[in-house]
């Protein structure tokens, strides 16, 4: 009973360390790598996919966090309670 719990805890720790609070970006990267592989396998130039995807994901991640921050600021200063602790 203890071992599965320990494993689950370790997995949660790895997830938190690597993915953090932005799973959408992590998923986007996996999809972009898959798309690059598909385009390359079709013998089409594929180098542009990853930089483009990275920049689009960065922009959307920054905007998401910025909107959340603005909403929290407007919501009577509850940012400290709800913002991801890694960013405080």
């Amino acid at each position: 009973m203890r071992k599965p719990l320990v494993r689950l805890g370790a997995l949660a720790g790895v997830w938190e360390f690597v993915v953090g609070d932005d799973w959408q970006t992590a998923l986007g990267i996996v999809l972009a790598l898959g798309l690059t592989a598909l385009v390359a396998a079709a013998d089409v130039t594929a180098w542009w996919v990853m930089p483009l995807a990275a920049l689009a994901l960065l922009r959307s991640s920054v905007r998401r966090r910025s909107r959340l921050s603005a909403a929290l600021r407007d919501g009577a200063g509850v940012e400290r309670k709800r913002a991801p602790s890694s960013e405080l």
């Binding site: 360390f17 930089p51 960065l58 922009r59």
Partner: protein
Amino acid sequence: MSGAELSLVISVFLASAVEAVEAFTIVLAIGSTRDWRSALLGVGVATAILAILVLALGPALTSLPIGVLRLVVGGLLLVFGLQWLRKAILRAGGVLATHDEIAAFERETQAAEGVVAAHGDFDGYSFSVALKAVLLEGLEVAFIVLTFGANQNRVGLAAVAGAVAVIAVLAVGAAAHAPLSRVPENAMKFAVGILLTSFGAFWGAEGAGATWPGGDAALPAVVLVVAACSLLLVAELRRARVGVCGSPS
């Protein structure tokens, strides 16, 4: 030293220096408030764990086929690099407060003073707080050392760059005997984020089967594009904040 090796050294050095400054602040607060010996023991144990991690995982990673390695490492570097870059952009754009070492030092000092004093020679609180601080900050560095180093088959060089950064921070910190608040942490984090993101996109694409025009010579162009777009995002955030602050309520 090749351009790729130079990028490896710069990335690992900057990342290690940033994390070392943050860990140093916590250890300094704990050591000067409670017990230096227990705090330093925590630092030693954490450093040993990190060294074992790099020594164990380094050879395992470098034994992977280069295509698989680049795909996995590229993806991981991108996830990690985009997190660093996002945080640095939000700080530079004024959305998040910049990291303040003096405030962090005061916070840690207050917390340490609030805990009951240890009986005997060993202070478990100092030990565990120092261990946790060094381990958590160091894990990010170990990750960067492993991924960057394994991809270029230069884990040793990456580890040396990281160690030199930590020693430099410790030397400056020991001389100042105060939190290193004048280190431009956000600018360093910004630079590391750009490098991690660029290398991640470059290696990830190669691992997925893409071929870069000009081979490795394309990498500086990727770095420049990522840097330019990041600066544009900062400018966009600053403009939006000025617009909000300047608009009539």
